[in-house]
Each structure stands twice: as C-alpha cells, then as structure tokens.
Point group: none
Chain length 195, copies 4
DNA sequence: AATGAATGAGCGTTCATTCAT
DNA sequence: TATGAATGAACGCTCATTCAT
C-alpha cells in the first residue's frame, strides 16, 4: 500500500492520546484546562499535541465524538443465568458500580460540552443525543421492557444516582437503590391489568 | 442609624450582583467565563465588580454560598387540597416544572464547583452537602415519607430528570414520570407488609 | 477681605498634606506609590487628595518644589563657640547626624524625580539644581572656605556618606569621617603657600 | 554532551537579556517600568520575557544578583607605571571617568532595590552589602592603604561625586576632585607621626 | 469641602498557537 | 515526527481619576 502508509498508526496514536485526555477534561473542564497541562499530563510536547489536533476545540470535539462512539454495553459475561427482571436489575446495578467512574466522567464531559456556546456544537450535538438514546434502548433491551416511560424512569434514576454520588458517594447506595427499584417495578407490573 | 451606615446598601447591592451572575456561571462555567464578560453582562465596569468581590474565585464562592442559603421550598399555595401521596407527587412534579430552569442551573454550578480543584472548596463544600440534604429532607417531609431509601429514590429520579432534560427536553416528560412514580410507589407501598 | 477668603487656609492645608507625603515618596518611590496609599497614609479620602492636587504628577512636583524651597540650614544654636575650621567641621557632622534621615529622604526623592522622564521636569529641574548649589554655598560659608574645589570635596563627601549609610549604617560613621576630614583639611591648608 | 544539553544556551540568553535590562531599570526605576516596556526595549515579546523570568520581581532580583557578581575592577592596563599614591589616585579618577555611567546606573538600581519593601530582599540584601564592601577593599588595595577610615573617605567621596554629577555633570569634575584628594592625602600622610 | 463608589485604560501574567530546528 | 522557544491577544486585577452625593 504505497499511498496509505502510516495513516493507521497516526490515527491509532491519535485515539490513544484522546483516551488519555478523557480524565483530564472530566476533572478540570474545558475552560479550566490548558493545552500545556494536557500535553504534560499525557506525556507529549505541545508541538506534538498540535501535530495530532489542530486546536483545543478540535481536541475536545474529537474526544466527545470518540465517547459517543464507544459502546460500553453490558457484556455477555454479566448476564450469566439472569432471568427474572429483579435479577436483571441487580445485574444492571453491578454493571453500574463497575463503571461508575467512567459514567460519571462521561456525564461531566457532556455537561461541559453544552456549556461552551462558542464551540461548533452542531455537528456533534446529534451524536450526543443519539448516544444517550442508545443507552436507554440498551437498558430497555437488557431489562426486557418495552414501555418507554419505564425505560425513562430507570435511566433517569441511574443518571441521578451517578450524579448524586458524585457530590457525596455516601449519600446513596447503588445496590440499595437497585433493590428498591426491583421491588417497586415488580409491584407495579404485577398490579397492571393484562393488556 | 449612626452605626452600620451604608453596609446594608453595599451588601444588598453585592447580593443583587450575585443574583445576576447566577445564569452566567451556569451557562458558561467558571473556567470559561471572564470577569470582563461578567461585568458587561451584569452592567457594571470591571472596576466596580472588583469593588464588590475581591477576586473571581471569591465571586464564585460567594455565589455558591448564596445558593446554598436560598430556600426554594414548596410554598403553601402549592399544597392546596393535596392529600394522598399520588396527589403530592403530582404537586411535586408541578413544582419541579415551575423551577426546572433554576434547578438545572444550580446543578450545573455545583458540578462546576467540584471540578475546580484549585478553588478553596473546603469552607463551602459542607454547605453544599448540607444544602443537598435539606432538599432531600424537604421532599421526604412533603411526601410524608420516612423511608430514606424511597426518599433517595425520589430525589435521584428528580436529579436524573433534570439533567436528562437539560440535554434534550423532549427525551422525557416531568409530568409523565411523576405519574408513573405515583403509581409505582402506590403499588409498592400497598404490597408492603403492615409494619 | 471679601475676595481672598480661605485661600490661605486652603494653601496651608495643602502644604500640611505635602509634608505628610514626604516620607511616603521617599520610602516607596513615585512609580510604586499609589494615590490610594497616599490618601490612606495621610488620612484623607482620594477625593480630598484630588481636591488639593489635580494629579499624582502635580502632587509629586509640588512636593519637590516645596523641598527645594525649604531652608534646612544650620541654626545659630549650632554655632555656639565654634571658631576653628576643625570645630566647624565637627559641628557640621553633628548637624548632619541630626538631620541624616531628612537628607537621605530628600536625596531619594530627587533621584526618583530624575528617573521619571514622562514628568514635566523642566519647570522644576532648575530649582533642584539651585537648591543643590545653595547647600554647597551654605557649607562654604559656614566653614569659611572660598575655594570651590574644597567646597565640592566636602559636599561630595557628605553626599557619599549619606548614601553609603543608607545601604548600611554600620559601614561608616559620620563622626569618624568628619574628624578625618578636619585633619586632612588642616594638613592640606597648612601646606598651602600663602596666597 | 548528553547531560546538560541546552541549559547553557538558555542561561546564556537569560544573562544577555538581563544585561539589556540594566539601563532600563536604572533609567526608569522598578515601579515605573512595565514588563511591556522591558520586552519592547530588549526586543522580545512579553511571552518570551516570561519564558526566561517567572515574574517582574524575579527579573529585578536576578538583575541585582548579576550586578553584585560582576567584577568591574581596575584592569592591569590601567596601572602601567603607577607608583606613588598621587599617581594611583589619578589613575583611579581615570578609571571612574571611564565607568561613570555604569557606576551611576548601578547606584540607581541599588537605591531602587532598597525602596521596594514588598520585594523579597533578604536573600539578596547581603550580596549587595558584600558587593559594596568588595569595592571598598578593591580601592584600599589599589591605593595601597590599610587605614579603613581613609578607605571610607575615598569611597564616600567617589559615591558623592557620582551622585552629584548625576544631577548636574557640570557641578563638579572628577579629575579636579581626584587631584585635590591626592594633595590632601599627601599632606595628611606626611603630617602623621611615624607609627 | 469631603467622601468613596464608579470607571476603563493599563498592568503583570497566561494562554492557545506557530514555527525553526 | 517531535520539540519547546517564541508570539501577542486576552486574562485577572489595579490604578489614576471622576463625580454624584
């Protein structure tokens, strides 16, 4: 391949750098983070950073795009012998606990993204919305639910859990809330008329 | 009034300025907001801004302190003829819808506060946590609930609603979720053994 | 006097304020001193300060003008029973020691004045030079010397003493140097041919 | 050179910049000189200036430290065929005249240094005093004098000459004063009892 | 006459970005 | 490709000065 020699390597390295930026943007925020800090923390010079990303804005937008394209879904391993909806909700809780830090940071970055009106949001804003929808659909599918209101309920609850625990992790427990949700949902579904 | 001559006016004006800053910090974020922008948007010069606040950091911290001390609770008017828990939850939804914008912005500011490690957070961090607790207690009291897990459930749900709607207001409806919550909660409580 | 009612008072107060500024300008320097500092240290508001002086520059120039017009000469009391040139030089040393602080500060202010090229120096620069000449003449007269080279010698020595002691008061003693000067001068004058 | 790769260049350039600052600080004074002016006059951008000096204060202190470490002593060339103390004093005068401008500026900078109480003076103040002592010792050694009072006399005279000529170069001549000093000193030393 | 809140130009400093090596 | 020195616009903040009271 004469004409596409190292593009792959270049692109692969770019994504590695993006990965290393994830925590930084989540922890400091776009406006409070400097390119020097980014360069230093991910272990390159500013020159190299600019070699892979034309600007701070582009770096941030590429980071968000990368996040929206990641598929952090429940793996087959997590569903071993999970049958009832109660079990599935508890498995969901387990999954959340394992990825809490990642979800929290992703939320911070999305929020931050919407706070920067001078950024060229439009090309990406739809991707973010779609990413959110995909999460919700994944939840519905995993729980075997087809009622969108319930799916919303679950996903809002998860969102709220993540963000409340960000302020104060001791204020609420994921496991406890998932158990309560399982019970409430069971009671609610049992009460429903056969449709 | 011989003593305390103009302190009141100075302090009153300071709080007026703080109020005008609320939207700005929520919409842009601490790091992306400049003091020139603040000054211009609230209609004073930078000099005047610094006459009332010794630094950008102090301005932000005072804003947060002011927020934690505000008491945006459900007024008596909202509870006219509200008896059952279902009615109360719907009234809560109504209240949320009326103050959604405020709650959303408050959340953004708090999140932003925790993202700035170089700020002197300690003196205020407890006030923020206490403010969050007060909200939860207010919900419990209003709903007549004494089970903290349920209170957590409701407050997480609200939090999640607010933040999901921030991304995309059409993705989920407050009214719908409150109706669902009322039904789930009724079903759950009816199923509970008499304790 | 209907038409000159309080000018005198106004002018007298202005000069009082100038007096209070003397130490400040000497200790901090024109460029490092702010009008707020001046106002606070001399116990008035900035508004009042500007009521008496149209600008910082004018304040400084008036201060220098005032200094050049002051006549810190050796008083009659200091010359009681002083006859020989040795006695006179020692009396001069005594006088210097008593006013060392004032002379040091005056020197600082003059130096500082010449360091500010943006100031309107011309109207005053001559007054400063004349003031310096007057000092020298006073020394000549007091010592009974009519040889200008010797007068220059004495005045340079004094100048150098003052400024070396400003850096480090223990590096050289006024009394010791005046005693040495007396001896050197005697030896020199005795050696001179009768002219 | 594997270790210490570009430190030398960086440091060398830093000292070049310091050298270019010398005149500026002497002519304007610390408080009246802005970093923009410095940058412009020495031909770099403000960014570059801050690349070499962390702050205005550090720049000034490094300048003073550099001055104290310089060794502007009388070179061997100046002492050709200088034997008697009279000849040595005249040679000293010649040396002074050649370096008058430098000495004058150094004095201005030192005075200015002591006028800035907010500067971190302590680490440097001793260096300045030592530098002054070294000058004095150099004078003593050059003149072949071991009487410290006479050394003080000469150094005060020089100091005074430099500063009086700063106000008005025509008020006093270096050559004339050195000739007078030579005569006075000869007369004084001849009169001394043999010790 | 006296005050001090208000102003905005300008200060010290930092930042995203460029470019010679 | 990778570096980090260089740039100058823009930041947080201060200052001389004005003006309503």
């Amino acid at each position: 391949m004469l004409f596409m020699p190292k593009i792959v390597d270049h692109d692969r390295y770019r994504k590695e750098l993006l990965k290393k930026c994830f925590d930084l943007f989540a922890q400091r925020g776009y406006g409070s983070l400097t390119m020097r800090q980014v360069a230093q923390e991910i272990g390159v010079s500013t020159g190299t950073l600019y070699h892979y990303f034309p600007s701070k804005e582009a770096l941030f937008l590429q980071l968000i795009e990368e996040i929206t394209q990641q598929d952090t879904s429940i793996s087959a391993d997590d569903i071993q012998g999970v049958e009832t909806i109660e079990e599935r909700i508890l498995a969901l809780g387990q999954f959340l606990m394992e990825h809490e830090d990642y979800f929290h940071k992703q939320t911070l970055i999305f929020i931050n993204f919407f706070q920067q009106p001078e950024l060229e949001q439009e090309p990406i804003i739809e991707a973010v919305k779609r990413s959110n929808q995909r999460y919700q659909e994944a939840i519905m599918q995993f729980l075997g639910i087809d009622n969108p209101a319930i799916a919303n309920h679950v996903s809002c609850l998860i969102d709220g859990l993540i963000s409340q625990r960000a302020f104060d992790p001791e204020s609420v427990s994921i496991k406890g809330q998932m158990e309560l949700l399982a019970q409430m949902l069971s009671a609610y579904l049992d009460n429903q008329p056969i449709s």
